[in-house]
Symmetry: C2
Subunit: 108 residues, 2 copies
């Protein structure tokens, strides 16, 4: 299942980069809204430390998740699909085999 850089055509790289950036922007935008709304409701110190814990967890998760190595992209896209940050149609242009793998992994 290992997919390295040479397995990606130039067109596929473009499709992948666009889809990756789009999912990232969506997730970050949603997170910013969530943090703003969370913050506006902070009334006591426990709420503030809860926000801190929340940000720690999300930062760690996002840093690990958006991994643009070609060997990881299939799994990354499957995860993004599963979590709703990306739609399968946005990966159109990847070869059929990759799309099949992404879709199958996303259903797991």
């Amino acid at each position: 299942m290992q997919v390295t850089e040479i397995d990606w055509s130039e067109t596929e790289k473009e499709v992948a980069k666009t889809a990756f950036d789009r999912a990232y922007a969506r997730e970050i935008d949603a997170l910013i809204l969530e943090v703003r709304s969370f913050s506006s409701a902070i009334a006591q110190i426990e709420d503030m430390w809860r926000l801190h814990d929340f940000l720690s967890a999300r930062r760690h998760e996002i840093d690990g998740k958006y991994d643009y190595r070609y060997s990881a992209l299939i799994f990354v896209f499957a995860g993004l699909l599963k979590d709703g940050w990306l739609h399968l149609e946005e990966l159109e242009g990847l070869d059929a085999d990759k799309l099949k793998k992404v879709a199958a992994l996303a259903r797991m």
Copy 2:
């Protein structure tokens, strides 16, 4: 300079507790306002991680600073005075020697 619990009269303990809680409440209230205002201005991910770094630092600082051991209180009060979270008059009721130490440390 070590001051242990037996060096604090009941009245002094009450004064100390009230002053301590008041300073804590002030600092936390100010911090909550700061975090809310910071959050409302978050526009991109770097701002969010900056908020996270800020919260990490403040949490660590506050956890360490508000140390209600009688052996630490003179230093704690001096720091709170220095940072403006407490006024010397709010420590009235402590014995003259303690007040002198607090005031002297706060000027350092």
